[in-house]
C-alpha cells in the first residue's frame, strides 16, 4: 500500500516518527588516533577527550508515538513522542520568503538504560537507570544541536506495521531544545532551511576587516590596506569597494590597492582617514535571478546545496524567467533582505518544501503544467470549515516601479535614489464609477538596471494584474484523503460562498499558501489567496516575444549585447523586439561606429526595431572641411561623410512610427575661404567647417566639432567653444553659441564657429551639415547676427560649391565654398532591413541618408 492509498482508507491509524540526526565520533575510544583515556566518552564532541582525533559522522536517534505499541520494524525506537505540531511554511508569492515552517515536537523524558545512546554503556560503572534521564543526558552530551536535521515522519501503520512508503517525511533544522521541564517534557523546536537567511545569520557581502593604513586625499590613486596580509586574505584582485561613502573601482596587488576609478555611482571623491574600513562590494552583473539566489543562499547563508534542486530551478528560469538582473551591494546586507528584494522584483515564490526537503523556486505565472484540483462542498471540504473573504486592503490601482538605482549604498526604499520609475495604472478603476480611489504600491528594485526598463514594465504589469481586483482569501479543512495538497498548489473551490450573477456557484481559483496539520495525519487546514496572473503577452508576431525597451540616451548601442545584458538563454525560435521610446536618443560620438549595431544573432531569431515618437536614432556627424594651408583642403569625402545610424548584416524589421527620427549622421560642414575682399585686401582665410576638422569628427547626433580655421596670414585661434554635443530638443537654443538659435533640425549642424577676431564678430556660425535637410552639402546656416563681413548667407548660395561674391555695403567679398560631407547611412545594410511605418513620410527625399549595403 502507498501513502496515497492508505490515507484514503477508513480506519487508517496515524502514527508519527521523529528522527534526529546528531553527530557521533567514528573513532574507537583510546585507540589511535584517539588518545582518550579514563572514563570513556559518549562519542560526542562535548564529551570528547581527544578532540584532535574527533571524526564526526551522522547518528540517527528515533522517537515514536508514545501511545501505541512500537512496530517491530521500528525496534530500537523510543516511544516517548507525545506530540508533533507542524506549521508548514507560508508562501508569499512575489513578496518574500514568507514565514518559516515550524515543527514542535514534545517528548516525555524517561529513565533509560542508554542502549543506543551511549556507545560505551557496558563500560559504565554506574547504574544508568538510576542516574538522570534519557533526554537530560542526551542534551548534555549534544549541546551543539542547533541546525541539526530532524525528520518528522507522519503517516499510518499498516496492520500495525511500519512501512516507510506509508509516511510523509518533513525535514526541519533544530532551533531549540527546551527541557527537561517541570513536567518531565522536552520540546524540540525546528524550522525550515530558510531560517539560515535570517538577518542575524547571513549577510552579503561578507564584512571586511581591512582598513586604510595611511590617510589619502582626493587626488590619490593608491592606498595600502592594513593589517599586513589582509589584502590576499580578503580582497579580490580587482573589484569595487566602499570607503566611507565613496565607491571606488580598484585593482589590488598584495595590500596595495590601485584606484582605477573613484567616485562611482555619483559618490563624492573625498579625503579618507587612516583606519577607515575598506569594504569590498559584491557585484551581480547580468545574472539570472535563480543564479543570484543560489549564490546568496549557498555562498553567504550556508544553505547546503543538496537541498536545492538546481535542475528544477534552471528549468523554471528557462520557462518563465528569461531576464537578467544586476546590482552592486556595497554594504553587508542581510541575505534575507536581498532575496526578498529579488523575489519581489521578479515575481517569484520561494519556500521550503519540508516533504521533499527542497527549496522551491517558482515564478508567478500562468498555470502551465500545474494541476488545478477541484474541491467541492460535497466530497472535499469538511463541515463548517470553509471561509472565503475579500481582502480589500490588498487591492491596487497603480504600481510604481522604481529602478536604475543611483547610489546602491543608500536607502533603497527612497524614491529619489532611483533614476527611473515606471507607473502602471488602472485609471478606470480609480474613476467614480468603480472604486473611486487610488491604491498605490511602490516597488523599489535595485536589481533592475536602466537598460532593463522592460523588466520594470513587466513587474508593474504583473503587480497590478494580481491586485487589480479585490482578491479573496479562503481557508478550509480537508480530510487527509486530500492531504496530498501542498503549499503552492492550485485549487478551484466551488461553494455557495462565492456566487455568480445568477446565483450559481462561482469557481474560485486559489493558490494554497499555507497549511497546518490540525490532527495528526487526519485533518489539514489550508489557507490560500485568489490567484490572478498576467497572461504572457504575445507580440505582433503572435508569439511571446523578448521585449527590450530603450527609454534613455545611449551611445553606440549593440543590440545583441543589450539583449544579453537583460535576457538569458536565447534560442533560435525567439523573437526579440527592441522598442525605442521617447527619450531614447541613440547616437555615436565616433563616426567609425554606428549609433546602433544590430550585432550577431543565431539564425532563426527574428529581430524587430520599433521606433516610437520622440526617439532619435542618429549617426555621428562627419568631419568638417579642413584646410592644411590656405585653400588646400585636407579632408576627404569619406571623412566628411556622416556616420551610420543603424548597421546590420542581419535580417531586421524596422518600424518607424510618426514622430521618430532615424537618420544617418550629417555630413561634415563645408569649408570656406576668402579669396578676396574689398573690405580688407589682406584677408586670405580658410575657414573649416563645423562637424570637426579632419581628425575631429562631428559629435553625437551629428553635431559638429569645433570649427577650425586656417589663415595664411592671420593665425586664427583654435579656441572655439566645444561643439554642441548633446541632443537638443527642436528649436532649443544651442549651448555654447552666442545668439545662435538652431533650427529644429539643429542636430547635424556644425558647431559654433569661434569668432575670429573682434573685428570679425558675426562669423559665429560653424558650417555644419545641412541644417534642414541633412544632405551634408555643406551649406552653412542661414542666419544673421549683426554686422558681418560675410553674412547673411542665403540658401540660394548653397549647397553648390564654388565661388560666390558677397556684397555688403557695396563692397564685395569673394569666397569659395568647399562642399561638406554627405549624410551617413540611416541603415547600413539595407538589403537586410525591411523598413515600415512612417519613415518616408517623416523624412522625405531620402533625407534619411543613403542605405548603404
Amino acid at each position: 500500500m502507498t501513502l496515497s492509498v492508505i490515507r484514503s482508507q477508513p480506519g487508517r491509524e496515524p502514527y508519527a516518527v521523529l528522527r534526529i540526526f546528531f553527530q557521533r565520533c567514528t573513532r574507537t575510544f583510546g585507540v589511535s588516533p584517539c588518545t582518550g583515556s579514563g572514563e570513556p566518552c559518549f562519542k560526542t564532541l562535548a564529551s570528547c577527550k581527544s578532540r584532535a582525533a574527533y571524526n564526526a559522522a551522522d547518528a540517527e536517534y528515533v522517537f515514536v508515538t508514545a501511545r501505541t505499541a512500537v512496530p517491530t520494524e521500528l525496534a530500537g525506537a523510543v516511544p516517548i513522542l507525545e506530540d508533533i505540531d507542524i506549521t508548514p511554511a507560508k508562501i508569499d508569492p512575489g513578496g518574500s520568503i514568507g514565514s518559516r515552517s515550524v515543527m514542535e515536537a514534545t517528548l516525555r523524558d524517561i529513565p533509560h538504560n542508554d542502549v543506543g545512546f551511549d556507545p560505551h554503556v557496558t563500560l559504565r560503572t554506574y547504574d544508568v537507570m538510576e542516574r538522570g534521564t534519557l533526554l537530560g543526558r542526551f542534551k548534555a552530551r549534544n549541546p551543539y544541536y542547533a541546525n541539526r536535521v530532524v525528520v518528522a515522519e507522519i503517516g499510518y501503520l499498516e496492520d500495525g506495521s511500519y512501512k516507510p512508503e506509508n509516511f510523509r517525511r518533513c525535514t526541519f533544522f533544530i532551533e531549540a531544545i527546551d527541557g527537561p521541564s517541570r513536567d518531565g517534557m522536552f520540546r524540540i523546536t525546528a524550522k525550515d532551511l530558510l531560517k539560515q537567511l535570517d538577518d542575524k545569520r547571513a549577510v552579503c557581502p561578507r564584512p571586511n576587516v581591512g582598513r586604510v593604513s595611511v590617510a589619502f586625499g582626493p587626488e590619490a590613486t593608491t592606498f595600502t590596506l592594513t593589517p599586513t596580509g589582509i589584502g590576499n586574505a580578503e580582497y579580490p584582485a580587482s573589484g569595487r569597494c566602499l570607503i566611507g561613502e565613496e565607491k571606488i573601482r580598484f585593482t589590488r596587488v598584495g595590500d596595495v590597492m590601485t584606484m582605477v576609478e573613484r567616485g562611482l555611482h555619483g559618490s563624492e571623491v573625498k579625503q579618507h582617514a587612516e583606519n577607515e574600513v575598506v569594504q569590498v562590494a559584491k557585484r551581480f552583473v547580468s545574472m539570472k535571478v535563480h543564479d543570484i539566489v543560489y549564490e546568496l543562499e549557498t555562498s553567504f547563508a550556508s544553505v547546503p546545496t543538496k537541498y536545492i534542486p538546481k535542475a528544477e530551478w534552471n528549468q523554471e528560469q528557462v520557462d518563465y524567467l528569461p531576464r537578467l538582473y544586476s546590482a552592486d551591494v556595497y554594504t553587508p546586507t542581510p541575505v534575507k533582505q536581498l532575496v526578498n528584494e529579488l523575489l519581489q522584483c521578479t515575481g517569484v515564490s520561494h519556500w521550503w518544501d519540508e516533504e521533499a526537503a527542497a527549496l522551491r523556486f517558482k515564478s508567478i505565472r500562468p498555470l502551465a503544467d500545474d494541476v488545478v484540483h477541484s474541491l467541492g462542498e460535497h466530497e472535499h471540504l469538511l463541515r463548517e470549515t470553509l471561509d472565503i473573504k475579500d481582502m480589500p486592503a490588498a487591492r491596487l490601482t497603480q504600481a510604481h516601479v522604481y529602478y536604475d538605482i543611483i547610489d546602491p549604498s543608500k536607502d533603497i526604499d527612497e524614491p529619489t535614489n532611483y533614476r527611473q520609475r515606471h507607473i502602471e495604472g488602472d485609471l478606470a478603476a480609480e474613476g467614480p464609477e468603480m472604486y473611486g480611489d487610488k491604491r498605490i504600491k511602490q516597488v523599489f528594485c535595485r536589481w533592475i538596471t536602466g537598460a532593463n526598463a522592460v523588466a520594470a514594465i513587466d513587474l508593474g504589469q504583473k503587480t497590478l494584474a494580481r491586485f487589480r481586483r479585490v482578491p479573496r482569501t479562503a481557508s478550509f479543512v480537508l480530510d487527509e484523503k486530500d492531504g496530498y495538497l501542498r503549499q503552492g498548489d492550485f485549487v478551484q473551490l466551488s461553494s455557495q460562498q462565492a456566487q455568480q450573477l445568477d446565483g450559481a456557484s462561482e469557481p474560485v481559483n486559489i493558490q494554497l499558501l499555507s497549511r497546518k496539520f490540525l490532527k495528526l495525519a487526519t485533518h489539514t487546514q489550508y489557507m490560500g489567496t485568489e490567484f490572478f496572473y498576467l497572461a504572457p503577452q504575445t507580440g505582433p508576431t503572435g508569439k511571446v516575444e523578448r521585449l527590450v525597451v530603450i527609454a534613455a540616451p545611449v551611445n553606440n548601442l549593440n543590440l545583441r549585447s543589450l539583449h544579453n545584458s537583460i535576457y538569458a538563454d536565447l534560442s533560435s525560435d525567439d523573437v526579440v523586439r527592441f522598442r525605442f521610446l521617447n527619450g531614447a536618443y541613440v547616437t555615436s560620438a565616433n563616426k567609425a561606429n554606428p549609433a546602433i549595431d544590430v550585432g550577431t544573432w543565431p539564425s532563426g531569431v527574428r529581430l524587430f526595431l520599433e521606433l516610437h515618437s520622440g526617439c532619435r536614432i542618429v549617426g555621428a556627424g562627419g568631419a568638417g572641411v579642413s584646410y592644411s594651408a590656405y585653400n588646400v583642403q585636407s579632408t576627404t569625402a569619406a571623412q566628411k561623410r556622416g556616420g551610420v545610424a543603424i548597421y546590420t548584416r542581419r535580417t531586421i524589421t524596422v518600424n518607424v512610427q510618426l514622430g521618430a527620427l532615424l537618420h544617418g549622421g550629417p555630413g561634415g560642414g563645408c569649408g570656406l575661404h576668402v579669396i578676396s575682399s574689398a573690405h580688407d585686401s589682406t584677408l586670405r582665410w580658410s575657414l573649416g567647417g563645423g562637424g570637426g576638422h579632419s581628425t575631429v569628427e562631428g559629435g553625437a547626433f551629428g553635431a559638429g566639432g569645433r570649427s577650425v580655421s586656417f589663415s595664411g596670414t592671420v593665425a586664427l585661434p583654435n579656441t572655439g567653444a566645444d561643439a554642441f554635443r548633446e541632443p537638443a530638443l527642436d528649436g532649443e537654443a544651442l549651448s555654447g553659441g552666442t545668439s545662435f538659435r538652431a533650427g529644429w533640425m539643429v542636430r547635424g549642424a556644425g558647431a559654433e564657429s569661434k569668432s575670429l577676431t573682434s573685428s570679425l564678430a558675426g562669423l559665429q556660425a560653424g558650417f555644419g551639415g545641412d541644417l534642414r535637410r541633412f544632405n551634408g552639402a555643406g551649406r552653412p546656416p542661414s542666419y544673421s547676427s549683426g554686422p558681418s563681413i560675410f553674412g547673411p548667407f542665403t540658401t540660394s548660395m548653397l549647397p553648390s560649391s564654388g565661388t560666390h561674391d558677397i556684397v555688403i555695403g557695396g563692397l564685395t567679398t569673394r569666397v569659395r565654398v568647399d562642399a561638406g560631407g554627405e549624410q551617413g547611412a540611416a541603415i547600413d545594410g539595407a538589403s537586410f532591413a525591411t523598413v515600415v511605418g512612417d519613415l518616408e513620410t517623416l523624412i522625405t527625399g531620402g533625407d534619411h541618408g543613403p542605405l548603404v549595403n
Binding site: V70, T72, T122, G160
Partner: protein, 290 residues
C-alpha cells in the same frame, strides 16, 4: 458474582539487579541487557534464527509464570518458543514449549480485526506478536532461558517476565472489564459540508484506565502478597492477566488475548481495613495488550 480468573506477574528475575542476562548473540543496538527493564519497546534481537536468552539468578529461584511482551514474531512462524531450566547452565530441560502456527502471517492485526489485503475482517486468530503469558507448575532453578526457534529471521523480545505470580484469593466483581474489552481507541471522523462521510482515523492508545477492587482479602494476604506488589507497582510495570478459564497452576495455561503489560494510573490506593480480619485492596491501572 465474582470471577476468579485474574493474576498478576510482577516478580521478575530478568529485571533483578543481581541477575545476569545473556544471549547467544545479539544484534547491534539490541543487547540482551535490554531485557533487564520493563520497556517492551526496548528489545532484544538475536542474530540467528534460533536464539537463547539466559538469565542467571545467582541462586535457585521459584517461578511459576512466564510472560512476554514486545514480542517481534520475526521468522518465528512455524517455529516455537520454549522456557528451559538448568542448574548448571549446561544441561537444559524444557518447562514450556509453544509452537507457533505457520499461518500467523504478518498481515494479522493484533486488535479486534485485521486487514487481509482487501478488507477488514474480524480476527479469531491471535497473532504471536501480542503479549503472551504462561502459567506453569512452579519450579526452582538458578538458570532459566527462553529459546526462540525461528525459521527465517531472528525474533525479538521486549519484556520477559519470569517469577512468582500473584494470585488473588477471591474473584473480581461483576462489571469488571477484561483488558481486551477495554481498548482505548479514539475515532476521528471527517464529514463534508454536505454531510458526506469522507474518512476516519483511529488513534489507538493501548487500554483505557480501569480499576478493580478486591474485597474481602485477609490482612495476612495483604501483608504477604499485596504490599510487595504495591512496592513494585509504584515504581514499575507488571503483567495483569485475565483468564477466561479458571487458572489451574498445576496444569498451566497459555494466554495470548488478555495479557496486559500494565502500570498504575495515578496514586496507588492504600489497602483499607474492613474489620479486624478482612481488608480491601484496589488498583487503578492502564496498559497495552501488544
Amino acid at each position: 458474582m465474582t470471577i476468579k480468573h485474574a493474576w498478576i506477574g510482577y516478580d521478575n528475575i530478568f529485571t533483578r539487579k543481581t541477575s545476569v542476562v545473556t544471549s547467544n548473540g545479539a544484534a547491534t543496538g539490541f543487547p540482551a541487557s535490554n531485557l533487564k527493564n520493563w520497556y517492551n519497546w526496548q528489545r532484544f534481537k538475536g542474530t540467528a534464527a534460533t536464539v537463547f536468552v539466559t538469565v542467571d539468578a545467582g541462586a535457585p529461584v521459584f517461578c511459576n509464570y512466564l510472560a512476554l511482551s514486545g514480542f517481534g514474531e520475526g521468522g518465528l512462524q512455524g517455529g516455537n518458543l520454549a522456557l528451559q531450566v538448568s542448574n548448571d547452565s549446561t544441561t537444559w530441560t524444557n518447562v514450556v514449549t509453544i509452537n507457533v502456527a505457520s499461518t500467523e502471517g504478518v498481515t494479522l492485526y493484533n486488535g479486534t480485526y485485521w486487514y487481509d489485503g482487501t478488507r477488514y475482517v474480524s480476527s479469531s486468530v491471535v497473532p504471536i506478536k501480542q503479549n503472551i503469558a504462561v502459567r506453569f507448575t512452579g519450579q526452582t532453578w538458578r538458570y532459566w532461558r527462553v529459546r526462540l526457534a525461528g525459521t527465517v529471521a531472528p525474533p525479538m523480545l521486549g519484556v520477559v517476565g519470569l517469577g512468582r505470580a500473584l494470585d488473588f484469593p477471591i474473584g473480581f466483581y461483576a462489571d469488571s472489564l477484561k483488558p481486551r474489552w477495554n481498548k482505548d481507541t479514539e475515532v476521528i471522523n471527517s464529514i463534508s459540508e454536505r454531510g458526506a462521510f469522507l474518512g476516519r482515523s483511529i488513534v489507538r492508545s493501548g487500554n483505557k484506565p480501569f480499576s478493580f477492587n478486591v474485597e474481602p482479602v485477609a490482612h495476612d494476604w495483604v501483608d504477604d502478597y499485596w504490599m510487595p506488589f504495591k512496592d513494585h507497582a509504584e515504581l514499575l510495570p507488571f503483567f495483569f492477566v485475565w483468564e477466561d478459564d479458571p487458572v489451574d497452576p498445576l496444569t498451566g495455561t497459555f494466554n495470548t488475548r488478555d495479557v496486559l503489560l500494565a502500570w498504575t494510573n495515578g496514586v496507588f490506593p492504600n489497602a483499607t481495613v474492613k474489620d479486624r480480619r478482612w481488608a480491601s485492596v484496589s488498583l487503578s491501572c492502564e496498559g497495552t495488550l501488544e
